[in-house]
């Protein structure tokens, strides 16, 4: 029977319509598999451990977070000009490794101003806080000469979006679809056994860091929203039976039309919300946290950690963040050391560091109170550091531009703290660590090494390191030793 092209097409079109629908029903059973990891009961961990990532979006200026107080201080003031912090304001910390440094006064505001909530000096003195120096995105170890000849450049160095991605993915040569926190979860999911929450939880929205190939993160609101209010589906109108029926139909619709990848992604998110909401039915009490953005995020994390036994969680990775570190202007303000010095206008970075340190300290205290400070490690990441040379010249407009290698903070009972890791850069424009002449330090430690050290402590087997960190082998050490 002869068949015209168009009638052939019509037949196929009709058949396809029915096809798409039925195949979606077939896949209905897949939705439940998303939130939880499948598990081998033999592998379930006996102890509890958590990693808490604090991402400082915008590029935190490490050059003003940790300042040399020895012979290099003069070089610091002469280059930084109005960005330089007064020597007397810096909080001296003398790392075991020698040399003398000072923290930004707002990393411990109580030192200068007893009315301020405590920052991190106590934790440093207890040797539970470490600084990792000049760490950054690297595709390979690189020298200034190599860099200037065009070798060893990470993809889109100095670009916010790309460097945020690389810090979170530990893949520095291009775009990435998974984060290293998510990839750790992919592999270590079995340590949790069968539990009601995914291993990765964000209190700062969706992010790449905690997204794995198979790990879909749970992203919930921070405090002050109570933990038992972060996932509430409000149903109004009609009798209670009507509301239940409506909710059931809403759930049923999630199983249809999943042949569209975007429809499925949206439905998976809703399915996860429905699955998880029942397990977050209480709002545990924790200690006092600052009523700041990060304070509220860490408070929510502390609540989730307090529920660890009730939920059966053995391993958790949390993501928090702060924004506005992109201090192109007004980085220091008219009174750079406030609130430590009692003033108000500390500029953009100063107030952020006060928020960071006070929230971290409150979180550390809460972990001690919960008796698990040795099992929770908190660490910072940021897009990049900022140029050592300032940008702008007029008062109030001076800030700094995008740079590269940066200092990170690592805090927790298992941290071998009170000292520095990595190599502190030579603070010289056009010097051996500079990419050019504005003070963009070439990292001497890679994000891969930093992350692998954290992952190893968390429980990732050495044999799995190359899977999670495919370029780790290019660097000398896969364990920087800052965790015991």
């Amino acid at each position: 029977m002869a068949q015209s092209r168009r009638s052939f097409l019509r037949q196929t079109g009709c058949a396809l319509g029915a096809t798409a629908i039925l195949s979606s029903i077939e896949k209905l059973g897949m939705i439940g598999a998303l939130a939880q990891q499948s598990s081998n009961p033999d592998n379930v961990a006996a102890d509890y451990k958590a990693l808490v990532c604090i991402f400082l979006f915008g590029g935190n200026d490490g050059n003003n977070m940790i300042v040399p107080l020895d012979s290099e201080f003069n070089a610091y003031t002469s280059v930084r000009g109005v960005l330089a912090l007064p020597q007397s304001s810096l909080v001296p910390i003398n790392p075991i490794s020698g040399r003398q440094f000072g923290m930004h006064p707002n990393l411990s505001p109580e030192v200068a101003n007893a009315a301020q909530s405590k920052g991190l000096l106590d934790v440093w003195n207890q040797q539970k806080l470490a600084v990792l120096c000049n760490v950054g995105t690297l595709v390979q170890p690189v020298t200034r000469a190599q860099y200037q000849s065009g070798a060893g450049h990470p993809y889109q160095l100095f670009s916010h979006s790309d460097q945020q991605t690389q810090q979170q993915s530990s893949i520095s040569n291009g775009p990435a679809q998974t984060g290293w926190g998510g990839r750790i979860s992919d592999i270590t999911g079995g340590l949790n056994g069968t539990v009601p929450l995914p291993m990765s939880v964000s209190v700062a929205g969706s992010n790449l860091f905690a997204t794995g190939k198979n790990t879909r993160l749970l992203a919930i609101s921070p405090a002050p929203t109570a933990l038992n209010s972060v996932l509430v589906l409000t149903t109004s109108g009609g009798a209670s039976a009507d509301q239940t029926a409506r909710r059931n139909t809403l759930q049923q619709l999630l199983g249809f039309d999943t042949s569209s990848f975007l429809v499925k992604a949206s439905s998976d998110t809703m399915a996860q919300a429905l699955q998880t909401s029942a397990s977050l039915a209480t709002d545990p009490t924790v200690g006092t946290f600052p009523a700041t953005s990060l304070g509220n995020q860490l408070k929510q994390v502390a609540k989730l950690i307090k529920l660890r036994d009730a939920l059966g969680m053995k391993r958790q990775i949390f993501f928090c963040s702060m924004s506005s570190f992109d201090t192109h202007t007004n980085q220091t303000g008219s009174n750079p050391t406030s609130p430590a010095s009692g003033g108000t206008n500390s500029g953009n970075q100063g107030s952020l560091l006060a928020q960071l340190s006070q929230a971290m300290k409150a979180f550390y205290d809460e972990m001690v109170l919960q008796g698990i400070s040795n099992q929770v490690t908190t660490f910072t990441l940021s897009d990049f550091s900022r140029t050592f040379a300032p940008s702008g010249s007029a008062v109030g407009t001076v800030g700094s531009d995008h740079a590269w290698g940066n200092h990170s903070l690592i805090m927790g009972g298992s941290v071998r703290g009170g000292t520095f890791y990595g190599t502190f850069p030579t603070l010289a424009l056009g010097g051996p660590d500079d990419t050019d002449t504005r003070g963009r330090w070439i990292p001497t430690t890679s994000v891969d090494q930093y992350a692998a050290t954290l992952a190893t402590w968390y429980g990732l087997a050495a044999s799995d390191l190359p899977t999670v960190f495919p370029y780790l082998g290019r660097f000398a050490s896969s364990n920087l030793g800052f965790l015991g």
Binding site: R10, S206, R246, G392, S393
Partner: protein, 727 residues
């Protein structure tokens, strides 16, 4: 020759449409005629594809690597045969995507490397696919190709070995080559969607979702009567309903709103985005310049300024939004210039006050990375150019940025104004474009090397410095504007904002070609670009079956779509409690306060659980947000006894109420109710299973409660992912 909608088939379609109109028998039939998917040929007796290895012509199973090595890339390629590939003139492999599903329901993206009519059998094309790097020896997969938003049938192919694999799609049929062979359709035709007849179908709902803040009854009737092209012309000529021009207020809110003497709601109206947010929703609901508003908002998300960094002052942000409104249908070069000199932008990205000493790099970087060329050199279809090693090639480097930073020096605010207007307090001028400082020492007047090595010369002795800097800025903006990346980059970003998150490169290329030349030799003509985006075959059609197609409605769009579809009366405040715009904030889109210059959500956000599909709006769909979108719909429809958002003085003078009485009149017949909502909200694409579920849910409610039946049906559609993702 490539097959396409031929003049012959198009004429027959027109005939069919007119007959349909007479007989009240329309829709699906004409649809399939206009935009069916391709068909991959299979065996006569099964769904196994007719497929060969590209080089050896061996049949399946296909090894993962090529048996003969021709290049460093040894991944195997296979050839399929397809018909009904209605390629447009100029389209090739970059119009097609392909994906495969294995027995574990894992999906793989195969690259389409070549498509070409088969010599002697031009009704059929051979399609060459590269196996993805992440596929292993998985056995049978179901494979499909997609074109213009339409998917093909799925055929079975053995990868590594044959056997296993997912079961056939239910209802799948064999698709052997037809005999006798059909006549090839000889000439690629122009895009058929310029014909007004196409606007009479369900596609008109989709069109208005893309071109407006949501389809209303009256707009639907109008576009159906005049067609898309005429509608676009009308919109291009509609007068602007602009944001209100506010007086400039003092920077210090205690001066602008002195305690004791300030007018009521002073802080709300002078030091928060509230008046702009209200104006936005009021204009979105009733303004006639819908397309301008959509494009202007899209531009806001590409060339970003955020109120949170402008002292939260609407009088500082308003002029920026007015600029985008004014320029939306102009030339992109003008947009670049007006945005560059806008004082709000000057403040936001630090060009304002930038000086010769240590010039700030912020604006120099972001105008290139985000506003114009992007970080990678692009092919004309928007895909990244690759070097010999397969790496992307940067568009510019740090040196280029440093040079542009030196261009952007010397600009300051225009002379201060007075507050009140005839008063004595000096206020900063965020209304007029920035001007060059009277202090010429702030100017960098040395030469600069711009994109592609173009040099902006140094000042010459005796030249007026202000004239020099004015001219230098023009040179620099021309340099950016004329970079070949701008067409594909801006076209793709606008398509993502208006139509679909993952446009085919061929679609991007068509729009970019229009950006490069509107047909009259003009580059950057926004009207032409917008028309090219909205009339493209990949945008148009009653139903899109490509699994990659669509975009998640962003929260503000979810709001406006719901309000316009259901003819709402509203004061524009999207709240049901005391909090200003609380429901919108809950959904994580703080209007005019995007968190960073990367907007409310990152343009390159990759959706978890997919094969790297872009889904920018998924960047603000956290687990909590999934419920909060549903809770917004609940608040609008079901809370407050079904009366919408209650009145609360001063922020909600009238509240917000939907009007769904015409649907409620159908509540006695649940099937009819759901069918009519399907047409209005889902442009007739609600799947039978989804429809059956909703009809059942409605039927279970007592027929005496017509309101609850209607509310339930609307709620279930509006909260569904099938609706949340606009397709």
């Amino acid at each position: 020759m490539r097959k396409s909608l031929s003049p012959r088939s198009f004429t027959s379609l027109q005939r069919l449409l007119s007959v349909c109109a007479l007989l009240f028998f329309c829709g699906a039939f004409s649809l399939v005629e206009a935009a069916g998917g391709p068909t991959i040929l299979s065996d006569a007796s099964s769904t196994r594809a007719i497929a060969f290895e590209a080089v050896t012509y061996r049949r399946e199973p296909f090894p993962l690597t090529m048996p003969v090595q021709f290049s460093a890339d040894t991944r195997n390629r296979i050839v399929l045969f397809a018909m009904n590939l209605d390629l447009l003139a100029g389209e090739g492999a970059n119009a097609l995507t392909a994906d495969a599903e294995d027995s574990t329901h894992r999906h793989y993206t195969f690259t389409v490397e070549n498509v070409t009519p088969f010599p002697g059998y031009e009704w059929m094309s051979q399609v060459t696919l590269r196996l993805s790097d992440d596929i292993g020896d998985v056995g049978d997969v179901l494979l499909r190709i997609n074109l213009h938003g339409m998917s093909s049938n799925r055929v079975r192919v053995g990868i590594g070995h044959t056997g296993g694999g997912p079961s056939d799609d239910a209802g799948a049929v064999t698709t052997p080559a037809p005999f006798p062979a059909p006549q090839p359709t000889p000439v690629p035709t122009p895009n058929p969607y310029t014909n007004p007849a196409f606007a009479t179908t369900n596609d008109s709902v989709r069109f208005l979702e893309q071109a407006t803040w949501g389809p209303t009854f009256s707009d639907l009737a109008h576009v159906r009567s005049i067609g898309y092209s005429a509608y676009l012309s009308e919109q291009f000529n509609a007068p602007v309903t602009n944001y209100p021009t506010q007086d400039l207020y003092p920077t210090d809110s205690t001066v602008g709103c002195p305690s004791g003497t300030a007018p009521a709601n002073c802080t709300r109206d002078r030091y928060s985005m509230y008046p702009l947010q209200i104006s936005f929703f009021q204009r979105a609901l009733t303004g006639q310049d819908q397309l301008r508003q959509r494009v202007s908002f899209a531009l806001h998300k590409i060339l970003v300024v955020s109120g949170r960094d402008l002292n939260n002052m609407p009088s500082w942000v308003g002029p920026y939004l007015q600029t985008l409104d004014r320029d939306a249908f102009g030339n992109f070069r003008q947009i670049l210039e007006d945005v560059t000199l806008n004082p709000g932008m000057g403040n936001y990205l630090d060009m304002l006050g930038n000086t010769r000493v240590n010039p700030n790099e912020n604006y120099a970087r972001e105008i290139m990375q985000l506003f114009s060329v992007g970080v990678d050199q692009l092919n004309p279809d928007g895909t990244p150019k690759l070097d010999a090693q397969g790496n992307r090639i940067p568009t510019y480097d740090q040196t280029t940025i440093t040079n542009f930073a030196r261009v952007f020096t010397g600009w300051v605010l225009a002379p201060q104004k007075k507050w009140p207007v005839d008063g004595t307090t000096n206020v900063l001028n965020y209304q007029d474009p920035m001007v060059l400082s009277s202090n010429t020492n702030t100017y960098d007047t040395a030469s600069k090397t711009l994109l592609n090595g173009v040099v902006a010369p140094a000042i010459v002795t005796g030249q007026n410095a202000t004239v020099y800097k004015t001219n230098e800025l023009k040179i620099a903006l021309d340099n950016i504007f004329n970079h070949p990346n701008v067409g594909p980059y801006i076209s793709r970003e606008l398509i993502k904002q208006l139509v679909t998150s993952n446009p085919s490169p061929a679609y991007v290329q068509r729009v970019a070609a229009t950006f490069n030349d509107n047909g009259q030799g003009v580059r950057g003509d926004m009207k032409a670009v917008i028309a090219a985006i909205l009339i493209d075959p990949e945008a148009r059609g009653d139903a899109k079956t490509d699994p990659n197609y669509g975009r998640l409605r962003e929260p503000v769009q979810l709001v406006t779509n719901m309000l316009r579809t259901f003819n709402a009366s509203s004061d524009g405040n999207i709240s049901n409690t005391g909090t200003r715009f609380g429901l919108l904030l809950d959904m994580d889109q703080d209007l005019f306060n995007p968190p960073t210059v990367f907007s409310y959500f990152p343009a390159d956000y990759s959706v978890p659980g997919t094969n790297s599909l872009f889904g920018p709006e998924f960047g603000i769909l956290s687990t909590s947000d999934a419920f909060r979108r549903a809770n917004f719909v609940n608040a609008l429809l079901l809370a407050n006894n079904g009366n919408g958002f209650p009145v609360a003085i001063p922020d909600r003078p009238t509240g917000t109420q939907l009007n769904y009485s015409s649907y409620q009149a159908l509540a006695g017949n649940p099937q009819q109710l759901v069918d009519s909502l399907d047409a209005a909200m889902m442009h007739g694409t609600t799947s039978p299973s989804m429809k059956a579920s909703i009809v059942q849910a409605v039927t279970n409610i007592a027929s005496s409660n017509a309101a609850l039946r209607t509310q339930t049906a609307i709620y279930l559609i509006a909260t569904s992912s099938q609706y949340q993702v606009e397709r």
